[in-house]
């Protein structure tokens, strides 16, 4: 089965860990993940400036490892990201900001990208 995942929780919220563990379980059960989409406060997880405490759970690193080892794109909503100060280089230039901060492991997409992939997936699961 094909699962579309949406995360809306803040990077430090326990829902991040729930979502990561859920995705790991899907992969263990040989299910397919069509997309991982960060929306609302979850977009802050795509910042390259996050500095987690050394002895704390690093949700960003967990997502990156999971995505890279399973070839899944980590998508970030462009409108939600801009509103919360997460900018790629193009948006940084467009809005004349001093610095971009989108982590290389994440891609900026529009809502249409998320919705059309979700529509063609078997299941949608949201963590917020």
């Amino acid at each position: 089965m094909n699962f579309s995942i949406c995360i809306t929780a803040h990077p430090l919220d326990s829902a991040q860990r729930n979502a990561i563990e859920y995705c790991k379980a899907l992969i263990l059960k040989s299910q397919r993940i069509s997309q991982i989409f960060f929306y609302q406060d979850a977009v802050s997880l795509a910042s390259s400036l996050l500095v987690p405490a050394q002895d704390e759970y690093d949700a960003q690193q967990q997502w990156i490892e999971l995505a890279q080892s399973n070839n899944i794109e980590l998508k970030v909503c462009v409108a939600a990201a801009i509103r919360r100060g997460i900018l790629n280089e193009a948006d940084c230039k467009r809005y004349a900001k001093p610095q971009s901060n989108l982590h290389d492991a994440f891609s900026i997409v529009g809502l249409g990208d998320f919705l059309t992939t979700m529509d063609s997936s078997d299941k949608q699961v949201t963590f917020g």
Partner: protein, 115 residues
């Protein structure tokens, strides 16, 4: 059918706005979708004075939904009673789902996004 469920009160502007943005985008992509205002979200139907807090008027966004084939807006019978809202006073097209029909309504959706 994709069911968007709004659960936030009108003053939680960004939660509402981002749910409505998603519903409007789905409509723009010709995806079959419906909008349900649940719990505190039903207060979005009331007249807003959003300019006082320098925000956009949610009612205006709700009014635009029919242009994207998201029409009517669904609400739950018990929420209308809880917040004493009379739909006769609301200009938008509203469909009230009675309690016995609510499970079937939710089951009719292939996907649900609740924000």
């Amino acid at each position: 059918m994709i069911l968007f469920i709004s659960k936030s009160a009108p003053f939680e502007i960004h939660h509402n706005k981002e749910l409505l943005d998603m519903a409007l985008a789905a409509g723009a992509f010709d995806l079959n979708c419906k909008l349900l205002l649940q719990g505190n979200a039903i207060l979005q139907l009331r007249e807003q004075h959003s300019q006082v807090i320098q925000q956009k008027d949610i009612n205006k966004t709700l009014s635009a939904l029919p242009l994207y084939d998201i029409d009517p807006i669904y609400v739950l019978e018990q929420d209308l009673l809880k917040f004493a809202i009379d739909i006769k006073n609301i200009k938008l097209s509203i469909n009230v789902i009675n309690k016995p029909d609510q499970t079937a309504f939710l089951n009719s959706a292939s996907k649900v996004i609740r924000l």
